[in-house]
Point group: D5
Chain length 145, copies 10
């Protein structure tokens, strides 16, 4: 643990977040997210945690990409599924705390989301049980003080 760093973040994840540059993406998958949708390397397990608490910790450290329209990607609800993913509202509230422009999200169809996830620089495997909770974040530019 370190002063001022959320204790929920594993050291290896911290290292990956620091290595990511402008435009590199981070995938946070739910508890049933398939291996075939993950990058071949840099998968960090955070079993027992839901996504919101992780998202909050990550957003304290990384800015979203201001140069693209949609730096946040969500998995679109299937056409015939009446489910309403209320967890997205939690995501929006969390991101709003750190980003003036908010999530500026886009919804990707399931196969497209999986395909995009495999190109992420890093991924976090969680135990989130909410449906359609998977999220991809595109890192912006960090400006040291």
């Amino acid at each position: 643990m370190l002063k001022g760093i959320p204790s929920i973040l594993p050291p290896e994840l911290m290292k990956l977040l620091m290595e990511m540059g402008h435009g590199d993406e981070l995938l946070i998958g739910d508890g049933n997210y398939p291996k075939f949708g993950q990058p071949a390397e840099n998968v960090i397990r955070m079993d027992g945690h839901g996504i919101p608490e992780i998202l909050d910790a990550v957003m304290q450290l990384i800015p979203l990409d201001p140069y693209v329209d949609n730096p946040t990607m969500l998995m679109a609800v299937l056409p015939d599924d009446p489910y309403v993913p209320t967890i997205w509202d939690d995501y929006r509230k969390i991101v709003n705390k750190y980003e003036a422009k908010g999530t500026r999200e886009i919804q990707l169809e399931k196969p497209e989301f999986y395909e995009r996830g495999t190109h992420a620089y890093a991924a976090i495997a969680t135990s989130e049980t909410a449906l359609y909770a998977n999220i991809i974040l595109r890192k912006g530019v960090v400006v040291p003080k």
Copy 2:
């Protein structure tokens, strides 16, 4: 995730728990537990979790050693420290759910505890913030049905 397995358990930890035999020990350290007190290998990070919720999941899977007097080891409070580690009561309640004979604990002096911890087969690094919360469990005999 698997049916009936606590989702808090990382796959790698599950593998290590299965590999442990009768008399092998598991160390669960708090958020400030030093590296010099851990085994050289098989350290699983569970950042963001307290020890009680991990202990509860582990105790569902492993029995304590019935052949020794003290299959549970705690770190003794320093002589001049008035602190009362109430988390031990939580441990006792959790263990009692799974073990008829309870924790049958012993308190080890700090240096002895660190020394013992380095010989554990596996260790879990947590973010537990309670003081004197470190615990070592000695695995018993599993009898398949």
Copy 3:
């Protein structure tokens, strides 16, 4: 060994089953299953065991994918082969114990089966001697209690 976990399961397989997500597939091959039909990594050897006893242990832990028509894949009997794979009935009985909807199987032609097997997340190499005994399972969604 652990309480409540079938002792037939190797720790490394347990780890892989936990890592698998929704839609990831598991290949269980017979004693003569070729290497060219297996995934490049994550092949667990279970020499000396037939497939039914392994299938029973695996099905206690993973649900089948409810979102596809055929979460179970078998290798189709060759057109001119009069052999009747009675072991399939064993498979159906075993799966029925754990899945209300049963195997909902499909038969894949031999080359297609091999091709599919190479994309499985994990494979088990057994000593099963029955013909046409190879099977692929597609994992569903685990919902923690």
Copy 4:
């Protein structure tokens, strides 16, 4: 699988048995055998199998050391334990099939057995549930025809 080779033997174990020379030892441990009593390398898991079926396969391939008095080592029953390890009779019958002079066993006290086990060239981790079932075999001289 190969012609004439017991299908229960994993390829990696076969390799280790071939590498062993005169006087090298093989440990076969039960389902609760501790990691601290095993060699640091060359541990082969054979989950789901009892020791007798493994012993039978191994004895088809290796001779016992004829130059020592006790090429077979068993773990002695604790002084105050009335348990009678009938599995030893199974061992004796199996060994007698392959060795004219039989097991010529010696019983080692528990700590001595663990200590000796750590020096074995290879070890097999089984799911044997019988008590006092652990066994160490000392390989003899193979004379090619």
Copy 5:
């Protein structure tokens, strides 16, 4: 060395032969066989040995594939080369000892042979000096007694 196993076989080769399944192929190359014609992994060196003595040992352990017309592949003599590879007769005699149907060989043109060799599951590098002595074997189905 083991009882009943030809002492010429290296432990690592034995392991590979056991891992091979129905349809997997084994390449045995002569002393000048190029690296570019070998598989990327699983190349076993048997320097100082000719191919016939190795072939004899291998054929004691693996059956040829009965489901294809040509489970044995030889490298065809170049069109304008008057050389007669008499070593092929040795191969035929050796194989006939173990296979009722014999080699049922096919000759592959040099480039095709090299191409096929790179897909073998394993290869043996020998010191054979006879010309056109390279051979590929396709493993059949092993039926345990």
Copy 6:
């Protein structure tokens, strides 16, 4: 780079600082610090940097051990060396910014310092050119907010 994290810190060093627990030590050596005085692993190179700027970044993240008298160790000036290490004053000023009790330093004789350095959990190799600039920090307890 991350928001709020000094950009001078390499990701791998950040990971190591997070892994360190209470009582683990960090060695920061000058540009001529010998390999024989460093730990066998976890050596991070920060060529081109002096120690003060690194110390400042590190002290933003780790507390010093409040349970020992001397959580900071310096290398004592040789008895017959008139050199006055003014860089120590820089160290004291930097540490005072983050620690109410200051460095509470002790000076170790050269051989003792080297010996202690080999037991550090991590080391930083710098290009510091000031004499007697080597420093060892003993990490304290981090209390999450």
Copy 7:
């Protein structure tokens, strides 16, 4: 550190610079340079340093390729961006000290620059904060005295 070698250069970078031949390229990226634009291997971190001081050290050791028109590549300013990268003037001054013909630079569009960067033999990750500061150098022929 070595006599006459800039102390800012990490040993591993020195090794890579020596391995590079005529026509091999070196990428020096700013603090937000993405991982997807870097080569898969040979990425050296030089956190806390700006590019000019690194460029100066590197140019002392490597000549630019005299056989191509543009041995230096810069990332072109986006069409609608009024930003003027004054750091390029620093680069030109530095290179002029070591190369009679100067940088002879070309500007590559952002996507082309990233694509080219992935083919570099080595890359340096810096903490440079100036915009459009990324640079690729193409090594020339070294003629020993």
Copy 8:
């Protein structure tokens, strides 16, 4: 060092030369030969040596391929370059000592040479300073006495 083996040859190179078969190629590059023209593996550094002395040692051990017209490949002088590579005469004299038919060389255009070099089984990195000194040798058939 060994009796009768040129002491200039590194043990690792000797191993690679022995592994090469008929038709495998060896690249010997000059001191500025680029990494992008070398094979991904098996690059042996022989810093401080010119190519002729290495060529002489290598030619004592490997025959050139008698089945192709041009077992030796040189890098063609650029069309507008008046340079005459006199080192080629040295190569011819050296090869003539060991090969009755001489080098039977062909000149490859620069890009073609680099492309071919990447497919060599092994490469030697030298400090040769002569221009157009790079050479590729194609190994022939070794006939043991």
Copy 9:
């Protein structure tokens, strides 16, 4: 294979022989030589070969140490064993071909021989079946011509 190099020598062994210096020792063990008597690394398998043919090839390349009285070590016949190891005469004849002073052997008691073997720089595992055939060679000084 290479010109003038015995084809029986594996490339890896050749590399090890070249790496050995004055006073380094080579162990050649029979088919039942135990692993506990071998060095931890650098064990080359030469299954299917007897020791004399290997010894002849090795002696073509390495001189024996002229500075010690006994550069050749044999395993002494047990006191009560009437066996006469006639293979030693073969060894003496082979060595005499290459060494003017012959083997100048010494016999080591079994335990001493095993102990010494573990310190050898390299070992060869053969299929030699003669008794008391193990041999250790101490390399001398190679003088290049």
Copy 10:
């Protein structure tokens, strides 16, 4: 190759020289130097080179330790050996070019020299044929300009 760096130095050696600090030692052994006298890691082969040319290149880069009486160690001539190692004069001339105080050498008895060599941070294996040519250098303090 790099500008101003002796081309005889391998990149890996350059890296090791840069990593060495004050008091770390470098061993340069002759062509028959034994492996048991070398460090376990960091051995660089420079086959085909004598020691003087290497020493000259190394001394351009590293200073000798001014804080000890004997920063250079040579292997003492055996008591009854009339040989006069004239190569030492070459060493003294080379060192004098770079060190005002010269070699300030000490002679170590053979066993002591070997023992010391194993503790060197790095070693160079040469093809030097002169007797008593082995040398150990103790690195001093580098002061950047």
